[in-house]
Amino acid sequence: MTITTSLRSCLRACMWPATVLLLSACSLEVTNPGPVNATFLDDKAAFPALVNGAGRDLAEALNWLSYTGAAVARELHPAGSTGSFGITPSQQGGKLVDDETGTHWQLAQRARWTSESAITRIKTVLGSTYATNAQYLQALVWVGYSNRVLAENFCDGVIDGSAKQDYSVYLTRAEAAFSEAITVATSQNNTTLLNAAKAGRASVRLLKKDLAGAVSDAAGLANTYAYKMPYNAIDADQYNRIYWATANTPYRAHTVWGTYYEAYYTASKDPRVAWGSDPKNPVGDAAVGNLGKVPWYFEMKFAAKDSPINLTTGWEMRLIEAEAKLVGGDVTGAMTLVNGHRVALNLAPWTATNATEAWTALKRERGIELWLEARRLADFRRWAAAGTPGATDDMTGRAVCFVTPREEKESNPNFKP
């Protein structure tokens, strides 16, 4: 065989790999199932799932904030567990440090962003008809509550990678969203979301010290009204986290022992702060610092994996009205409203002979009424800032808000401490 012949053979041989390469290159495109491309969400058929996702995000944020916030706000006492479903040593000491607030911040910011981006997407896709869309209304309500959750729990305001702002930026956004929701719900004749928006705006206006506006919004809501964030037993990250952390499977991570509510419930049997104990498991699941093992008194407000958390209630509206009266100097009128739910529950009413005692009663009653609902830190912060009289839990040396986490500080070039 000559060289020419063998080279020809070689060239022929070389053609095959090139052919195979071309064929293989054609099949390098792969469509993998599961996650969807963002453009898929521009189909209006995807809007319900998009808005439900925003709701789920808010549920998850509320779940984490209510538990950790409860530990810091002395609504619960740690019972030992520090890892999964536990309370870290820093949080046990009432500290919210920036390397432990990342999850809370991430979840709360995501809840705000998903609902706000849903609004933008729905408007873009539907054009001028967006206000007639039911998902648009629900998204507005989620925007309002997600911003309220941020305002009530975080120290700083940051929007979409912005510079650090005062946390009141969330209140402004919440109020705007609730206001639009009220308009849209009215036009859509959706009473459920109309009430949810009104109650949400009332609570926001209280935080903004717009007491007249708050009272106006609260006025139309019945005592028994409640708008609740649902949880479910399908996936553990959708379980009610406070319940699950002390469901003894195997965590007994927190206890009512050592809180105001331990003795208060023993004396009053107020069902709003009920707790129980188990002779077979008398102590928490580990040791708490120098305290060692502590008694395990499990809360009973959330008695199942799918126990909802109140976003707002009519009784909260009464307390908003009470606070407005107190600020206005009407102690008697305020105490009537403060005791409204207690009377309905056949509990002994608080008594107050002066404004200071009335403030003490109001502060205690808000603690009881909104127990474990991620509301307490905001109350401590605003009352301290306003210098209101009256006693409440000793928060000396304890955090009253979640600091902006390292994750935001280190990744956001606009964030200046």
Partner: protein, 950 residues
């Protein structure tokens, strides 16, 4: 029909040979004689087939058969020198006096530590001689390893400079991480590519037995099995390793972390050769706590786990180029944990045949079935180790054996089915041209069943999950070589080829909880159920061109290029090109060379290779999820249309020397690798919604180091041989640039920080560690050092003594790394009375001072998680082996051997007070940064084996 007729002809021919050959007169009548004998491997006594044996100075010679036997007829009477020669072994002479009755010359061949003509294939387009290769190639020949290999990982452990096998735990089935020259990537896997007989395998770990159900991620044994350990180590002939981009360019995208190629045994011409092996032994856990608590309160639960195994191999072939190798192995191994057990079966069938004159076909097939049972362990509130370690501060609030043993009703079963099929056809139409196609299929199917039965202490209503996971890798590799001899001793070898690899992973899981009552449940038994499914396919297609020029058979230059496309690349990203160039010079064949007993090769190589991102990394995606029965979408991945592979460029310089006629060798390599466009998980701004991180090609990494291997045979006499080897490897990495991204955590206190090694361990340093009575003087965010070892020393000594009894020992030292030991933190922060604090407790009770370290760690209020970063330096004796050749002690056998091996029976830590720095935590052996959680270390293994050939 054609192949049937062909095989019939071959069979008839073989039968004729088999009948006729014994009838041939072997003793000549004309003044010549017959030399017979047997060739074995000196280290193991194993018969060696296909050895060329000849009478020096004559044309008389022959080849050994499967039993190592040979016969040379027509040898002139009188004193003759008989020489045995085989690739990879030192040529050996025996002088015999040939008489009319014949003569016998037996050989025990020692390996030639480096042979310039030894053929390698890994990292080259086709087969290449070592003299032609410009990069370093590590190689392990199984016949030369004296110990009884328990896994592929154990074969590679401590064998080669630059190869680090580490990780795993003491649980049955736990795999090990393999790092070639340390870490190459911070965001992607650092496991090298694995090939077996040219077939691409999965190299990353199998999923551990844990449910996808949210909140259940800790309920497991936290054991990651390695696909590498499905391969029966007894089936392996040799393993080749190329350690970096300079050598792995032709593998393209995904090869930056190096390539390991396993070659299984083949049959040799001759009658069937049978080998039976029976192994027995036990696993025993060595102390990993302090002297006061040697097993950290696990004592009541531990046992010596029995090991029993048997294997059968048969190989042979016809004179007509048909060869076969068949094997079966079965092993049953108890773990040291009370529920741990592994039962494994392996089958292999390799065939080689030539259906046409110019066509050779190799067929490789193997099947393995591994049934694992594990004890709940790791950082798992329902685990045995966690509850034992934490004493009365555990989840029972009680340290009684009875209480803790309640977790043993937890059932963790894993079944792994593995099928590997491959065929290679090599067509050689003319001597100068060859075309080779390899088609391979690797299917791994894992079932993980995780059951907490009704009445289980921490889930009284019961929980079950059953996961079916499958990986299917399909690979096609086509390589064509054309060799042309020019004038002036110039030889050109041109290679062109293409590769296609498709890797598809599918995963489906059913989950249920709340059973109606006792009994053996299925998921269907549960009152509430959930299901999960993921599917992911990644395809890589590429082509390469290589040109090897050789002049005078001692100057060689290789250039090449590989072009790749990958389904995971971003849409803005096109094909990737990876070039390479290398050269080698056999200096010892120059005229100036004055040391005839020595050979020397100088080499240099430059090459590039990549690592591809994951299937979804380039695209902005949302996750479809549910919300209490309603459909929901939530943000998943922010996406990056410009995403491409990270590219590693590596330079290798080195030399390979042999001295004293091959009795000693020195291999020295310097490498310097830089990864540009390194993929970093750039943290997204949480307030922008997506949060988490997104892979971006923003970073630059660098590493360099030296690998030195020295081996030799300082003593080689008739009744005694001493062999030694020493390997040193260093590795210094640096994160050159974060590309503007902020420093980020890789978990377990490992960080990516500009100017530091990758990853660097960051935590709290106590500066006055031993100062008595002092308040701890701490420094936060202190940079301790790298999480990967910076220097590794391996050494071995093998002594052949009386009656060829061989004793060998292999040891390893690793230094320079730091590691987070989290188990102590988790215990101490919960006020567990912990053995490292016993002295402090006594001192405090007696109002005596304690050290700053004790004050920081033994007083629960002071304990911080980042205080427990320790040096991970250690020394281990990897194995001790005694091999006793039994000859024909057993009737009707050709040879037999008794081997005793003890592995991992001695460890000394330098810095870490407890545990084994080679352990891994919940995140598995392949984590970017390993840490120690509530696990036990790998136990010592003691095995005795009898191997019989007939």
């Amino acid at each position: 029909m054609c192949s049937l007729r062909w095989s019939t002809r071959v069979g008839a021919f073989a039968l004729a040979i088999a009948v006729l050959v014994p009838l041939l007169p072997l003793t000549a009548q004309d003044g010549s004689g017959v030399v017979r004998g047997r060739v074995t491997i000196a280290a193991s006594g194993t018969p060696l087939a296909s050895v060329q044996v000849f009478i020096v100075g004559t044309k008389a010679g022959g080849m050994t058969n499967n039993s190592g036997n040979y016969t040379i007829s027509g040898v002139k009477l009188g004193q003759q020198t008989v020489r045995a020669r085989a690739l990879g072994y030192q040529p050996t002479d025996v002088v015999v006096n040939v008489t009319a009755e014949g003569a016998r010359a037996d050989f025990a061949l020692n390996t030639a530590v480096v042979s310039l003509n030894e053929v390698v294939v890994t990292g080259t387009a086709g087969a290449a001689r070592m003299r032609e290769v410009g990069n370093s190639i590590g190689s392990v020949k199984i016949n030369e390893t004296p110990s009884i290999p328990t896994s592929v990982s154990s074969i590679l452990t401590g064998q080669m400079a630059g190869v680090n096998v580490t990780g795993g735990s003491g649980n049955s089935g736990a795999g090990s991480a393999i790092r070639l020259r340390g870490m190459t990537s911070v965001a992607l896997t650092n496991q090298p590519l694995i090939y077996i007989d040219g077939v691409r395998l999965r190299s990353d770990e199998y999923p551990k037995n844990v449910s996808s159900q949210a909140g259940q991620d800790l309920r497991s044994g936290h054991v990651n099995a390695s696909p590498l350990n499905d391969i029966n180590p007894d089936d392996i002939d040799r393993i080749e390793v190329v350690k970096g981009a300079a050598a792995a360019t032709l593998y393209g995208t995904d090869a930056a972390a190096g390539v390991i190629q396993i070659f299984t045994r083949r049959g040799a011409a001759g009658a069937a050769r049978w080998q039976v092996q029976a192994t027995t032994g036990f696993n025993h856990l060595q102390q990993f706590g302090t002297d006061d608590a040697p097993y950290l309160y696990m004592d009541p639960f531990l046992r010596d786990g029995k090991r029993n195994g048997a294997s059968l191999q048969v190989s042979g072939g016809t004179a007509g180029n048909t060869r076969y190798f068949l094997s079966f192995a079965g092993d049953n191994t108890q773990g040291v944990m009370p529920l741990d057990n592994e039962r494994k079966f392996n089958l292999r069938a390799n065939f080689d045949f030539a259906p046409m004159k110019n066509l050779a076909v190799n067929w490789n097939s193997s099947y393995s079935n591994d049934a694992l049972q594990n004890t709940p362990a790791g950082n798992n509130a329902s685990g045995l180790t966690l509850n034992a370690f934490r004493r009365d501060r555990n989840y029972f609030g009680n340290d009684s054996t009875y209480k803790i043993a309640q977790v043993l009703s937890y059932q963790l079963h894993t079944w792994i089915d593995r099928l590997i099929l491959g065929t290679t056809a090599t067509w050689t139409p003319i001597p100068a041209l060859s075309s080779r196609v390899t088609i391979g299929l690797d299917r791994a199917a894992v079932e993980n069943r995780n059951l907490r039965p009704y009445g289980f202490v921490a889930a009284p209503q019961g929980i079950i999950s059953d996961q079916r996971w499958q990986n299917l890798t399909l690979s096609v590799d086509w390589a064509n070589n054309y060799e042309h001899h020019f004038a002036n001793q110039l030889v050109s070898t041109t290679s062109i080829g293409t590769q296609y690899v498709s890797s598809a992973v599918s995963n489906a899981e059913a989950y249920g909880e709340t059973f109606p009552g006792p009994g053996v449940p299925t998921v269907s038994s549960a009152a509430t159920k959930n299901a999960f499914e993921t599917r992911q396919t990644i395809v890589t297609g590429g082509a390469f061109l290589q040109e090897l020029l050789g002049w005078k058979d001692r100057y060689f230059v290789t250039t090449g290029v590989r072009i790749d496309g990958n389904s995971a690349f971003g849409k803005q990203f096109g094909l990737q090109t990876y070039p390479k160039i290398s050269g080698s010079w056999v200096a010892s064949e120059e005229k100036f060379w004055r040391w005839p007993s020595a050979t020397a090769k100088v080499r240099a190589a430059y090459g590039e290779a990549g690592r591809a991102p994951g299937a979804f990394d380039a695209v902005q995606t949302w996750n479809p999820v549910g919300w209490g029965g309603l459909p929901a979408f939530r943000p998943n991945n922010v996406g990056n249309a410009d995403l491409g592979p990270e590219r590693t460029k590596e330079i290798e310089l080195g030399t390979d020397l042999t001295l004293l006629d091959g009795r000693a060798s020195v291999n020295l390599t310097y490498f310097n690798a830089k990864t540009s466009d390194a993929l970093f998980p750039v943290r997204q701004i949480p307030s922008e919604g997506f949060g988490g991180s997104q892979l971006e090609n923003v970073g630059k990494l660098a590493k360099h180091g030296i690998e030195l291997s020295v081996s030799g045979t300082p003593l080689d006499r008739k009744y005694a041989t001493v062999k030694t080897s020493l390997a040193l490897s260093t590795n210094k990495s640096e994160l050159v640039s974060l590309g503007g991204a902020p420093a980020f955590s890789l978990g377990s206190f490992g960080w990516a920080i500009e100017g530091q090694q990758v990853p660097v361990m960051r935590g709290k340093l106590i500066r006055n560690h031993d100062e008595m009575g002092a308040i701890p003087d701490t420094v936060g965010n202190y940079l301790f050092g790298p999480s990967q070892p910076t220097h590794i020393i391996n050494g071995s000594v093998s002594v052949r003594t009386w009656r060829d009894i061989t004793l060998s020992v292999r040891a390893e030292y690793q230094g320079g790394a730091f590691m987070n030991e989290d188990a102590s933190f988790q215990a101490l922060q919960r006020s567990v009375k912990w053995p490292t604090c016993f002295r402090a407790y006594d001192a405090l009770a007696a109002s005596q001072p304690i050290t700053a370290w004790e004050r920081a760690t033994c007083v629960p209020a002071n304990v911080k998680q980042d205080m427990f970063i320790f040096p991970a330096d250690f020394f281990k004796i990897r194995d001790f082996t005694m091999s006793v050749p039994l000859g024909k002690l057993i009737p009707r056998t050709t040879s037999s051997m008794f081997v005793f091996t003890a592995q991992n029976f001695f460890r000394k830590n330098y810095g870490m007070p407890m545990f084994d720095p080679e352990q891994s935590g919940n995140s598995g052996f392949n984590a970017a940064v390993r840490y120690i959680s509530e696990h036990i270390p790998a136990p010592a293994t003691f095995s005795a084996s009898v191997r019989v050939s007939f």
